[in-house]
């Protein structure tokens, strides 16, 4: 496609930055464990967006390749994360992350 002339790269970067920040904020403020994971996915997506954009800017496919790897890893992480969440849920019977504070100090 030939849209590259019209869309300033910085717009896209700002979008990715915004998504990244949203992810970060989500991890920081939400209580629900699953939503923490969702926020992490948001962060990874922001990264992917960057890769794609820069891949386009530099005219090589390395960024796109990387983003495939990122997706794969996102999948793996989601699997593990959910596994842990379920295990935690079985023991704690709650999805609140701030109940997980047996260890402190």
């Amino acid at each position: 496609m030939g849209g590259e002339e019209m869309i300033p790269v910085s717009w896209a970067i700002f979008l990715s930055l915004a998504l990244f920040t949203l992810g970060v904020i989500g991890v920081m403020i939400r209580k629900n464990l699953i939503i923490l994971l969702l926020s992490l996915e948001l962060m990874l997506n922001a990264v992917n967006l960057n890769f794609v954009i820069f891949s386009h800017t530099h005219g090589n496919t390395l960024g796109q390749v990387f983003s495939i790897f990122v997706m794969t890893i996102a999948a793996g992480e989601a699997a593990i994360g959910l596994g842990i969440i379920i295990a935690v849920f079985r023991i704690k019977k709650t999805m609140d992350a701030d109940t997980l504070k047996e260890m402190e100090g």
Binding site: V47, L62, A87, I91, L100
Partner: protein, 463 residues
Amino acid sequence: MIKGIIPSLILTITALFLLLLRLFKIKKDWVGLSLGILSLLSGIIFLPYGISENSLPTLIQDDLAIYFQFLVMLASILTLILSWDYIKEGKWGFVEYSSLVLFATVGMYFLVGSKDFLTLYIGLELMALSSYVLTGYTRGEAKAFEASFKYFILGAFSSGVLLYGISLVYGSTGNFSIENALGQFQGSTDFIFKAGMLMVLCGFLFKVAAIPFHIWTPDVYEGAPNPITAFFSIGPKAASFAAFVRVFWWVFAPASEDWQFVVYVVAFLTMLGGNLMAIVQNNVKRLLAYASIGSAGYVMLGFISKNDFSLKGIFYYLLAFLFAMVGIFAIIIYLNKKEYSEEKVDDFKGLNKKHPFLAFSMLIFLLSLVGIPGTAGFVGKFFLFGSAIKGGFILLAVVGVLMSVVSLYYFFRIVVNMYISEEEKMEIKNSKFLLTTLIICLLGTLIFGIYPSFLLRILSINL
């Protein structure tokens, strides 16, 4: 071409084989242990084979890689021996445990040996993922899961940050190579390069547990099974440091002054905070966690000063740290009671009376961590502080040595319990495996402490 990855191949195949065994419900624990150790040993043996070969596009086989790969494999071997009693006792199955450790080792192998951000990232993630699993592996305890979950979320968070940094660097340079990333670096005006650099820095600082990214460490150390805690404190940390050094000394070399300043502040805080927080701990594992944070600060002295003493210092110190930590955890496992309870500093009361050798070894390890001459820890610190002095980071060196003194204060609370308090309430297991680990670590600490030239002669790390 294949030579460079022989060790990792051996490890991978063994790990897969072990999984397969598990799949067929063959739960021969000793197979897991012996195969794991064998494969790691042969991996170490094959390490030097790849050294002349640099034909792999994404892997590099230089001194730095070889030494640190050696280090992480050594860490894995010791971890496996260390884990035997622990895992056996809980009947958690050594086979898959062993394979997970091997997978983590493979991850670290690639992390250390990568010359490309992508490989680095994959290695990092493999290592991290195995670590998450290992953290929650054994106890079936809320604490372990809590630790695992915290570790996982924060780890993923930080690798997200690292990744974002990588993407920005990619945006600036247009490739992922660590060797030749600088093709398109545009000097001091290249802001996304610097933003990327800072975020990569943050990601690595998380991995090496530097303040203020240390926050996960105490909880994870406390919650994780003892042998795994030992493993975390050495293997992933050493591997992360190696990658850290490689990335920042190579890719970000042109911006040295920029990151040196930031790392300066961080190293300062890390040495200070880690050691100060350790003062107020009563839980041994948390205490060690903070101590290891402080140690990361010392290692950063070598990292920041970037001269001929630095790598020797980093490697030597991490090696000493490895021996000391594994040894200490061996002793903690020795002391571990049947029912689950916290590992208090008080647990060591009267150890000397009960088992003088354990107490003595513990003393040596603690002295090594403090950096008393005659132990390997001193040689490491000698090089690290030396590199800081040579690099002109006098203030950091002064803080470092002062904090060594502080570390004496909290470590010696354990010594006081062992030697001076008369109370005795512990039961001590009798384990050949733990003893073996202990002796290896003790010998390592003393030999490398008293006659370091043996290692230094080999160690001619150059970049």
